[in-house]
Symmetry: C5
Subunit: 245 residues, 5 copies
């Protein structure tokens, strides 16, 4: 029965959602705030300045989070360390992590583009060892494949899955240049099976691509979706302005 | 398989639900209360006074929230900013945001009325760039289309969906003049796929229209509903009276 | 497809569940307790003493709540006001509202008894504008009709629903004189579609009627039930004894 | 359609789960601890010493609770009173009730053993008015019968249910002498339909009986299970040792 | 209908997940921290140093926990005691247990390797009375068998289950030397039916084995999975470094 695809994995990702305790922040004295911001900016710039991987921070709209940190690192240990190091900062004391997703970049399975001369293609390497796009917005959501009686992804044939993924890719290609997609796998690592980041300069494109794809068989029939986070990227140096409301 | 409809999007919406910490509020000294109310009234009136979009505040009945803020803004950044700016007020320290919905107005898909001489009709523009109706009450709820084996909206034909939406519109027309409806999309943006605001001067009409529509195929078979919020609108200048119990 | 029933609505209901912070209460000084109790008794007696509607308080067994307030009022605004007014009392500071249900009384749909000489019958009026029965206990629960592929209430014929409701009424009639039932609708108003109050002097009758009805097609096949609250009514003047443990 | 069974009910049960605030407890001064323990031991021994019913306390393994109180009382009012009386103790201030189950003992329906010379048999009376067994461990869990399209307990025939319960009883009889079972009903009273207590001196028997029964049609097809609590009974006089870690 | 397998059980397991209150920890004075760490190291080393069983501690990536304690003990009482004893430490006051799983090792049912000369094989004994592997990482998750209309594990024949488990074992054997698996049962003991620990020196192997197995009938059709925890093991003596961020 089993027809799993061969996959290659790359770097690890942590999406960490944090809520701010605004009341405590507002009533902190200015010196505390200043030093907390300075330390946090230093943390964020240092975290993004690593040789391999990077770190980005987003303002999340709505109550689910205030901030989302996206960390990419070569190893689980480094991911754990960068998450934990933030907890030692002054700013962290005004926040708590309320949701997260741990995953690892992957390629393979559904495209031929991933292999070149018997080696990983440049395309594949850009997916496995990605830079975080500079795009203004991100739509992040975790998802899984359904395993219900009449809609069980893991009971379909490899050929059927290939066809569904081709349809899915074609829907995605309509948004080439407008959406940059980062797919990471979390089976055996976190509750949902995959994480999806859609980077874009116009959230209407994120809405458009997810809406269009929802009519693809792979989504319509075989996917269940977790929470969606809408984030606005800002450079660490704008943290001060962010916290000023 | 894919037959998505073409959509046009307009302004962004944030429904932000907040619970008050009444104990802390009650025991605050009068001067703190007064200045907190003054500042919040100024915030709310300013937020509603923007050139494009607006802001309304509702008292929510039941434990799910005390207050609901409805913000409409042309951009995600402005939405994020108006949400965050409130956190810097004194009143915010007596509240916390416990639920929210982020979405964007949309038209298209199921009516011909949306286009006129190849351009967006006046009707469509009123839906994309809406004023917040003055109605006394609002019933707000998020919803999604079902994707279950025998009831999968995204597997129906475009013609079938058109028919279902026509039936739905006809049910709605029975309430013309009694209910003003505002539909916004949140696919790729928030957890549910749509947000629905029913503005009315008599909550029994909101109950009536949702009850009647529940027998329409589009609702009966193909919809799942999130939490329903019943809100009573009040002008910012009544905030003082609101908080006096 | 749509065959909704005509309904008439009456007064609005709020079931408000509250948990006590017993630790804070226990360590409050006697003068604070006394004045908090006096004020709360005055609030409860005043709330029950309105010309139209009424208010009752119940001790809830188990962890879901300590107290349940049942408010009945002619308008949503009055419901909102009576809920909010409690928050300004001293006792409220020792409690928090952890669950609630907002609804409106309704008749019509499934009986002929509701109309008499073209007007609402006396029976119907007693259901729309009810007194809160004096019964010792209440079993309160919200419920909805199922909308699943093979068990979709909103896809059944009006005749089938009439038959199911007749069977249901017959089960209920076995408990005449032992159970007083109050049905209120919350479609478009709150998360569940209905609220059910079973007033009785012996909780075994509440268990009996719900058990018997569970074999009726309307319940067995077409209902889903929310949390059940078992409350013991007490007069406001016993609040002191209640809080003394 | 309805074929409910006749039931007889006896005493009421409250399973109350509590978590301890260990940090506060650890930092309390010795005199406070001593008097809190003395008062709680007195409460527990008094609660168990009632003429009808009894009270037992269990240490619960895992994070779901620290302590489980099992109260059995002839009336709902007494149950409510014994739950509330604890809240007035000093120890209660270091705990909070995080889960509970309210139910009433029942017999009838599926065995002939319950009636004797037209009266309740001695067996039935021992089930309706039970002593709490002295067993070292308890496995407590609430459960309901399924009401899904192809697995709806309330649509099966009475004969089919009799057969399923006979099979279930036979599975249970394999554990005679090793497991004492206490079944209580909570339809109309609490969220789940039944509560099950398995008293045993070896938790492996509790695992064994639930595993074996899971292959019985009544469980495999027609049951859904709530949380399982594994408790270790201890006499009130060991409370001191319990709290010493 | 019942065809349960004979099982043998061994030692009990507690997986205890804890979140740290980093803010309180950061602002504690150095002497408090030092003595808290010393005491916790002593606790952890003592807990691991027992004659039968052991204790390991993991740093958990993401928001679900900061630390996971894995305790293995011959009896439920010892498990309860080692969990409770931690609560008396200073470090515990900076943490709270937010999730857990209680289970017992088991063999039997699906392999012949478990019995040898009529006695438990060496293989079986290593599964029943296990050492905690030294592996760098653990993927821990609870799981249950599905009991839905068309995918009900407990309605399949014993032969079918044997075949499915053989397929599953073969998938697992691909990872021999890279993954050490520890299966424990929790039917009748905790909410999920089993707990699975995958010990590995490369989390990509944990992802790989769970992904591959998801195409096995036993997983694809008959399993539902709880939360997945990714843990990095560290020796108690590194607790100081862990807490330094």
């Amino acid at each position: 029965m089993a027809e799993p695809r061969d996959k290659a994995e790359g770097w690890y990702l942590l999406h960490g959602m944090r809520k701010l305790n605004w009341g405590d922040w507002n009533s902190a004295d200015e010196r505390t705030k200043e030093s907390a911001v300075d330390e946090a900016v230093e943390y964020l710039e240092g975290a993004d300045g690593v040789d391999e991987g990077g770190t980005a921070v987003y303002s999340v709209v709505g109550d689910k989070a205030d901030l989302m940190f996206l960390h990419i690192r070569p190893t689980v240990e480094e991911l754990d360390a960068v998450e934990r190091r933030f907890e030692r900062t002054r700013l962290a004391e005004f926040t708590r992590e309320t949701a997260s997703h741990v995953s690892v970049t992957e390629v393979g399975g559904y495209t031929n583009e991933d292999v070149e001369d018997g080696d990983l293609s440049k395309y594949a390497r850009s997916k496995l060892f990605p830079d975080i796009p500079d795009s203004r917005f991100v739509s992040f959501y975790p998802m899984s494949r359904k395993r219900d009686p009449e809609q069980n992804w893991y009971e379909t044939t490899r050929q059927h899955r290939d066809e569904m993924m081709r349809e899915h890719r074609e829907s995605g290609e309509e948004y080439a240049g407008r959406i940059k997609q980062l797919i990471s796998g979390s089976i055996g690592i976190d509750d949902w099976e995959w994480g999806v980041d859609l980077f874009t300069d116009d959230m209407k494109h994120a809405k458009g691509i997810v809406y269009d794809m929802r009519f693809d068989e792979a989504s319509a029939v075989y996917s269940e979706f977790g929470p969606f986070y809408t984030g606005i990227r800002f450079p660490p140096s704008d943290l001060d302005a962010y916290l000023a409301g």
